[in-house]
Symmetry: C3
Subunit: 316 residues, 3 copies
C-alpha cells in the first residue's frame, strides 16, 4: 500500500516522497519501508533513532519527526494506527499456497486440518481436530493433541507437546477506543514462537504479537488454562502452574517459576531465577534474582507470611 493511500485513508495531510509501505512496526523495530506511530508521549524519545519511513503522529508530536521521515498528522494516532493495521492483515488462510509438507514418519489424523503453506517435521503426531494454519512450521517429534489450534504464521519447535484444546496465536487483546467508548480492532500481524522442548497443558491460550513475536523459550513448562497475552516472553526453562496469566508485553527471565493462579501485569521485566507462590500478583518489574515472592501486590514471601500472621491476630 502506498503511503499516499494510507494518508488518504486516515485523513492525514501528506506532502513528502511517496513509497510502498511494507508493513507497520514499533519505532524501534521499523525499517525504512515500514510505517510506525506515536500514541503516547513517552515514546517520543524513540523517534530520532527510528528507521521508520513514516510515522503517524498528532499535531504536538509532529515537530519531533526528523527530515527524511514522513509525518502523517492526525488527531488520534492510536485509532488511525488501528485503521491502517487492518490493511496489512493477511488472509485467514493462504488458499493458493502449496499444499502442506509432512515430514517422514509423521502421523496426521484425517480429521486434522493442515492449511496450505504449513510444514510439519518428522515423526510428529497430530491428532484429530487439530488445526495448523498457513505458513505454520512444526519441528520434529512434536505432539499436537486433539483440538489444538495453531493460528497462521506461528512456529512450534522440536520435541514439543501441546495438550488438547490449547490455542496458539489467537489475536492479542488490542484495540483503540474513542471518546464514545467504541473500539477499533488493532490487527495482530505478528506471531507466536514456541521453541524446542516445551510442554503446554490443555485449554491454554497464547496470543500472537501485534508486531514481532510472543515467545515461549526452550525447555519451558506451561500448565492448563494459562493466559499469555500478546508480545510476552517466557524465558528458558520457566514453569507456569495452572490458571496463571501474563498481561501484554511482560518478559519473564530464565527459570521463572509461578505457582497456580498467579498474575503478572503488563510491560514488566522479571529477572531470571525468581519464584512466585501461588496467587502472586506481580505489579512491578524485578531486577534481583533468586528470590521468593508472594501476595498481591506481591512482596517478599516472608513478609507476606508475617502480614498474614498479623491479620490473623487482628481478629482475636
Amino acid at each position: 500500500m502506498k503511503l499516499s493511500e494510507i494518508a488518504t485513508l486516515i485523513g492525514a495531510d501528506f506532502s513528502g516522497e511517496d513509497f510502498e509501505v511494507k508493513g507497520m512496526n514499533t519505532l524501534i523495530d521499523a525499517s525504512s519501508d515500514e510505517l510506525s506511530f506515536v500514541a503516547n508521549a513517552k515514546y517520543i524519545k524513540d523517534i530520532s533513532t527510528s528507521n521508520a519511513g513514516a510515522i503517524i503522529v498528532d499535531e504536538k508530536t509532529k515537530e519531533f519527526v526528523p527530515d527524511g521521515c514522513s509525518a502523517l498528522v492526525v488527531e488520534s494516532p492510536y485509532w488511525q494506527m488501528a485503521v491502517v493495521s487492518a490493511k496489512f492483515a493477511p488472509l485467514l488462510e493462504e488458499i493458493d499456497s502449496p499444499k502442506a509438507t509432512i515430514g517422514e514418519g509423521s502421523r496426521v489424523s484425517l480429521k486434522a486440518e493442515i492449511a496450505n503453506g504449513a510444514s510439519i517435521g518428522k515423526n510428529c503426531q497430530i491428532l484429530a481436530g487439530v488445526y495448523v494454519g498457513s505458513n505454520v512450521t512444526v519441528g520434529d517429534n512434536t505432539i499436537l493433541y486433539p483440538n489444538v489450534t495453531i493460528y497462521r504464521d506461528c512456529k512450534i519447535g522440536n520435541e514439543c507437546i501441546i495438550h488438547a484444546g490449547t490455542v496458539i496465536g489467537s489475536d492479542g487483546f488490542g484495540f483503540a477506543s474513542n471518546k464514545l467508548g467504541e473500539h477499533k480492532k488493532i490487527y495482530h500481524n505478528g506471531n507466536v514462537v514456541i521453541e524446542d522442548d516445551v510442554e503446554i497443558g490443555s485449554n491454554t491460550s497464547i496470543d500472537r504479537a501485534v508486531f514481532g513475536t510472543t515467545l515461549i523459550s526452550r525447555g519451558s513448562r506451561l500448565d492448563n488454562l494459562i493466559h499469555i497475552a500478546h508480545n510476552c516472553v517466557v524465558g528458558e526453562y520457566s514453569v507456569l502452574a495452572g490458571q496463571t496469566g501474563l498481561a501484554g508485553s511482560s518478559k519473564l527471565g530464565r527459570s521463572s517459576v509461578f505457582g497456580a493462579q498467579s498474575g503478572v501485569a503488563g510491560h514488566l521485566e522479571i529477572a531470571p531465577f525468581n519464584t512466585f507462590a501461588a496467587r502472586s500478583g506481580v505489579t512491578k518489574s524485578i531486577k534481583e534474582s533468586g528470590k521468593v515472592f508472594a501476595g498481591f501486590p506481591f512482596m517478599d514471601h516472608k513478609a507476606w507470611l508475617k502480614i498474614q500472621a498479623k491479620l490473623a491476630r487482628l481478629i482475636k
Copy 2:
C-alpha cells in the same frame, strides 16, 4: 405437555383447568401458557402481577397464588422445577430441520459442522472444527476461528470475531439439591445473544440462560479464558480482560472495564462507565458511574492503595 401431566410428574395435587403448557419461565416473564415457580420467599411479591398460567409452589406459598392461576403444590418447588425443566429441553440437534443456509461469499470449512436449521450470513469465514448448532443464526462478515462451539438457538451478530476454542451457549451451572446433597439438573432452555461488532478471545465460555438470554452487547471486547455465567448481561462497549469471571445473572452497564482475573458475584447490577483494576472482586451492586475500583472485597481504588501502603508498613 398438559398441566395435568406435569402435576402427575411432580406429585402435585391439581384441580384447576387443564391446558397445554408451552414452557417454563420466571414469574415476571411468563405468559399465560407458561409455568412458573416460587423457590424463594423473596419472589412471592412477583406472584400477583405474574401472567403465568400455573405456578409450582410449596404449601406456605400457595395462598398467594391468585384465582385464574393454577398452583401446583409440592414440598420442594426448586427440585420439581428442575424435574419439569427436562421435559421442555429440546433435542440436542434438530435432525429433521432443513439444511443450514449459507450466505453469499461465506466460506465454511468442510471440517466444520453446521447443524440443520442454522443460518450463516454473508461473507463469513468459518474454519475447521467449528460447530454451529441447530437454529443458530450468524450475521454477516463474522469470523469463527477453529474449534469454536456455538450451541443451538444462540445468535451471533454481524462483524463479530470469535477466537479458537471459545464456547457459546453451554448450559449454565444450575441445579436443585436435596437434603442428601444430590443434585438435579435444571435444563437451560434459554440462549446466548452476541450483538454486532463483538470480539471474543480464545477458550472463553459463555453460558446460555436458564430462561431468556445471556447477552453480550454491541461493541464489547472479551479476552481469553473468561467465564460468563447464565443470564448475565454485558453492556455495550464493555471490556473484560483475561480470566475474568461473572457469576450468574449479573448485569454490567455500558462501557464497563474489568482488568484481568476480576470477578463479579451473582445477581449484581453495575452502573455504566465504571472501571475495575485487575483482580477486583465485585460483591455488591454499584449505582454510581465513572469510578475506579480495586480489591476483594472491592473498594475505591485509592482506598485500596492506602490499605496496601498501611499493610506494607505493618511489617516494618
Copy 3:
C-alpha cells in the same frame, strides 16, 4: 522391560535377580513386578511395607531397602524415575486394537473420532469434533458436546454430561528438574475416572494421574474453566464453581462446595460437607465438617468478614 535394562538406562549398579518390570508405581501401590522410587526422605517410612520388586533410590536411602527388593542406586532418583517413565508410556493411540464398539441407540457424529479399542454405551450422544481415545469407556446415556477430548484409558460413567471444549485426561504437570533448571517429563500413565451422574462445564481441564486415577465421584457438578490437577479426588456430590483450581493429589470429601475462582493447594485432604466462599485459597488440610470458609489464606468465613471490616476502618 527387564530390570537389568532399566539399570543400564539410568546408570545404576544392579546385582540382584533380574525380572520383567510391568510398570512403575508408588511405594504403597506397587506390586512385586513393579518398580518404585524414593525421591523424598519423607517416603522412606513406606519402604519396609512396600511390595515393589525394585526401588530407585539414592546412596543415602539404599540401606532402607529390605532383602528381596532390588535397589537401583542413582544420584537423582526423581530425574531417573522420569527417564524410566517414558519407557512405560503407551502409544498415543492403539491403532491395531479392534474398532470401537458403539452401544444401541447411541448417536455419534461422523465428525467425531472414536479411537480403536474404545467403547461407547447405549443412548449416548457424541457430537462433532469430539475425540475419544483408545480404551476409553463411556457409559450409557452420556452426552459429549462438541470438541470434547477424552484421552486414552479414561472412564466416563453413565448419565454424564460433558460440555464443549472440556479435556479429560491430559498429562499432569509433572517433571523432574536438574541443577541447570532443565526439566524431564514424567510420563503420566494413569487415567481419569468420571463416575455416574457427573456434569462438567465447558473448557474445563482434568489431568490424568501419574499412577492410578484422578477421580471425579458420582453426582458431582463442575462448572466452566476449572483446573483439576493429577491424582485429585473430588468427592461425591461436590460442587465446584467456575475457574476454580485444585493442585495435585488433593482430596475433597463428599459434598464439598467451592465458590468461583477458588483454589486448593496440593496434597491436602478436605473433610466432607465443607463450603468455601468464592476466591477461597485452601492451604491446609481440614478435618472438621460442616464449616464455611473464606479468604486466602483461608479462615473461618466469619473471621474473614471481621478482618475485612477492620481493614475498611483502617483507611478512615
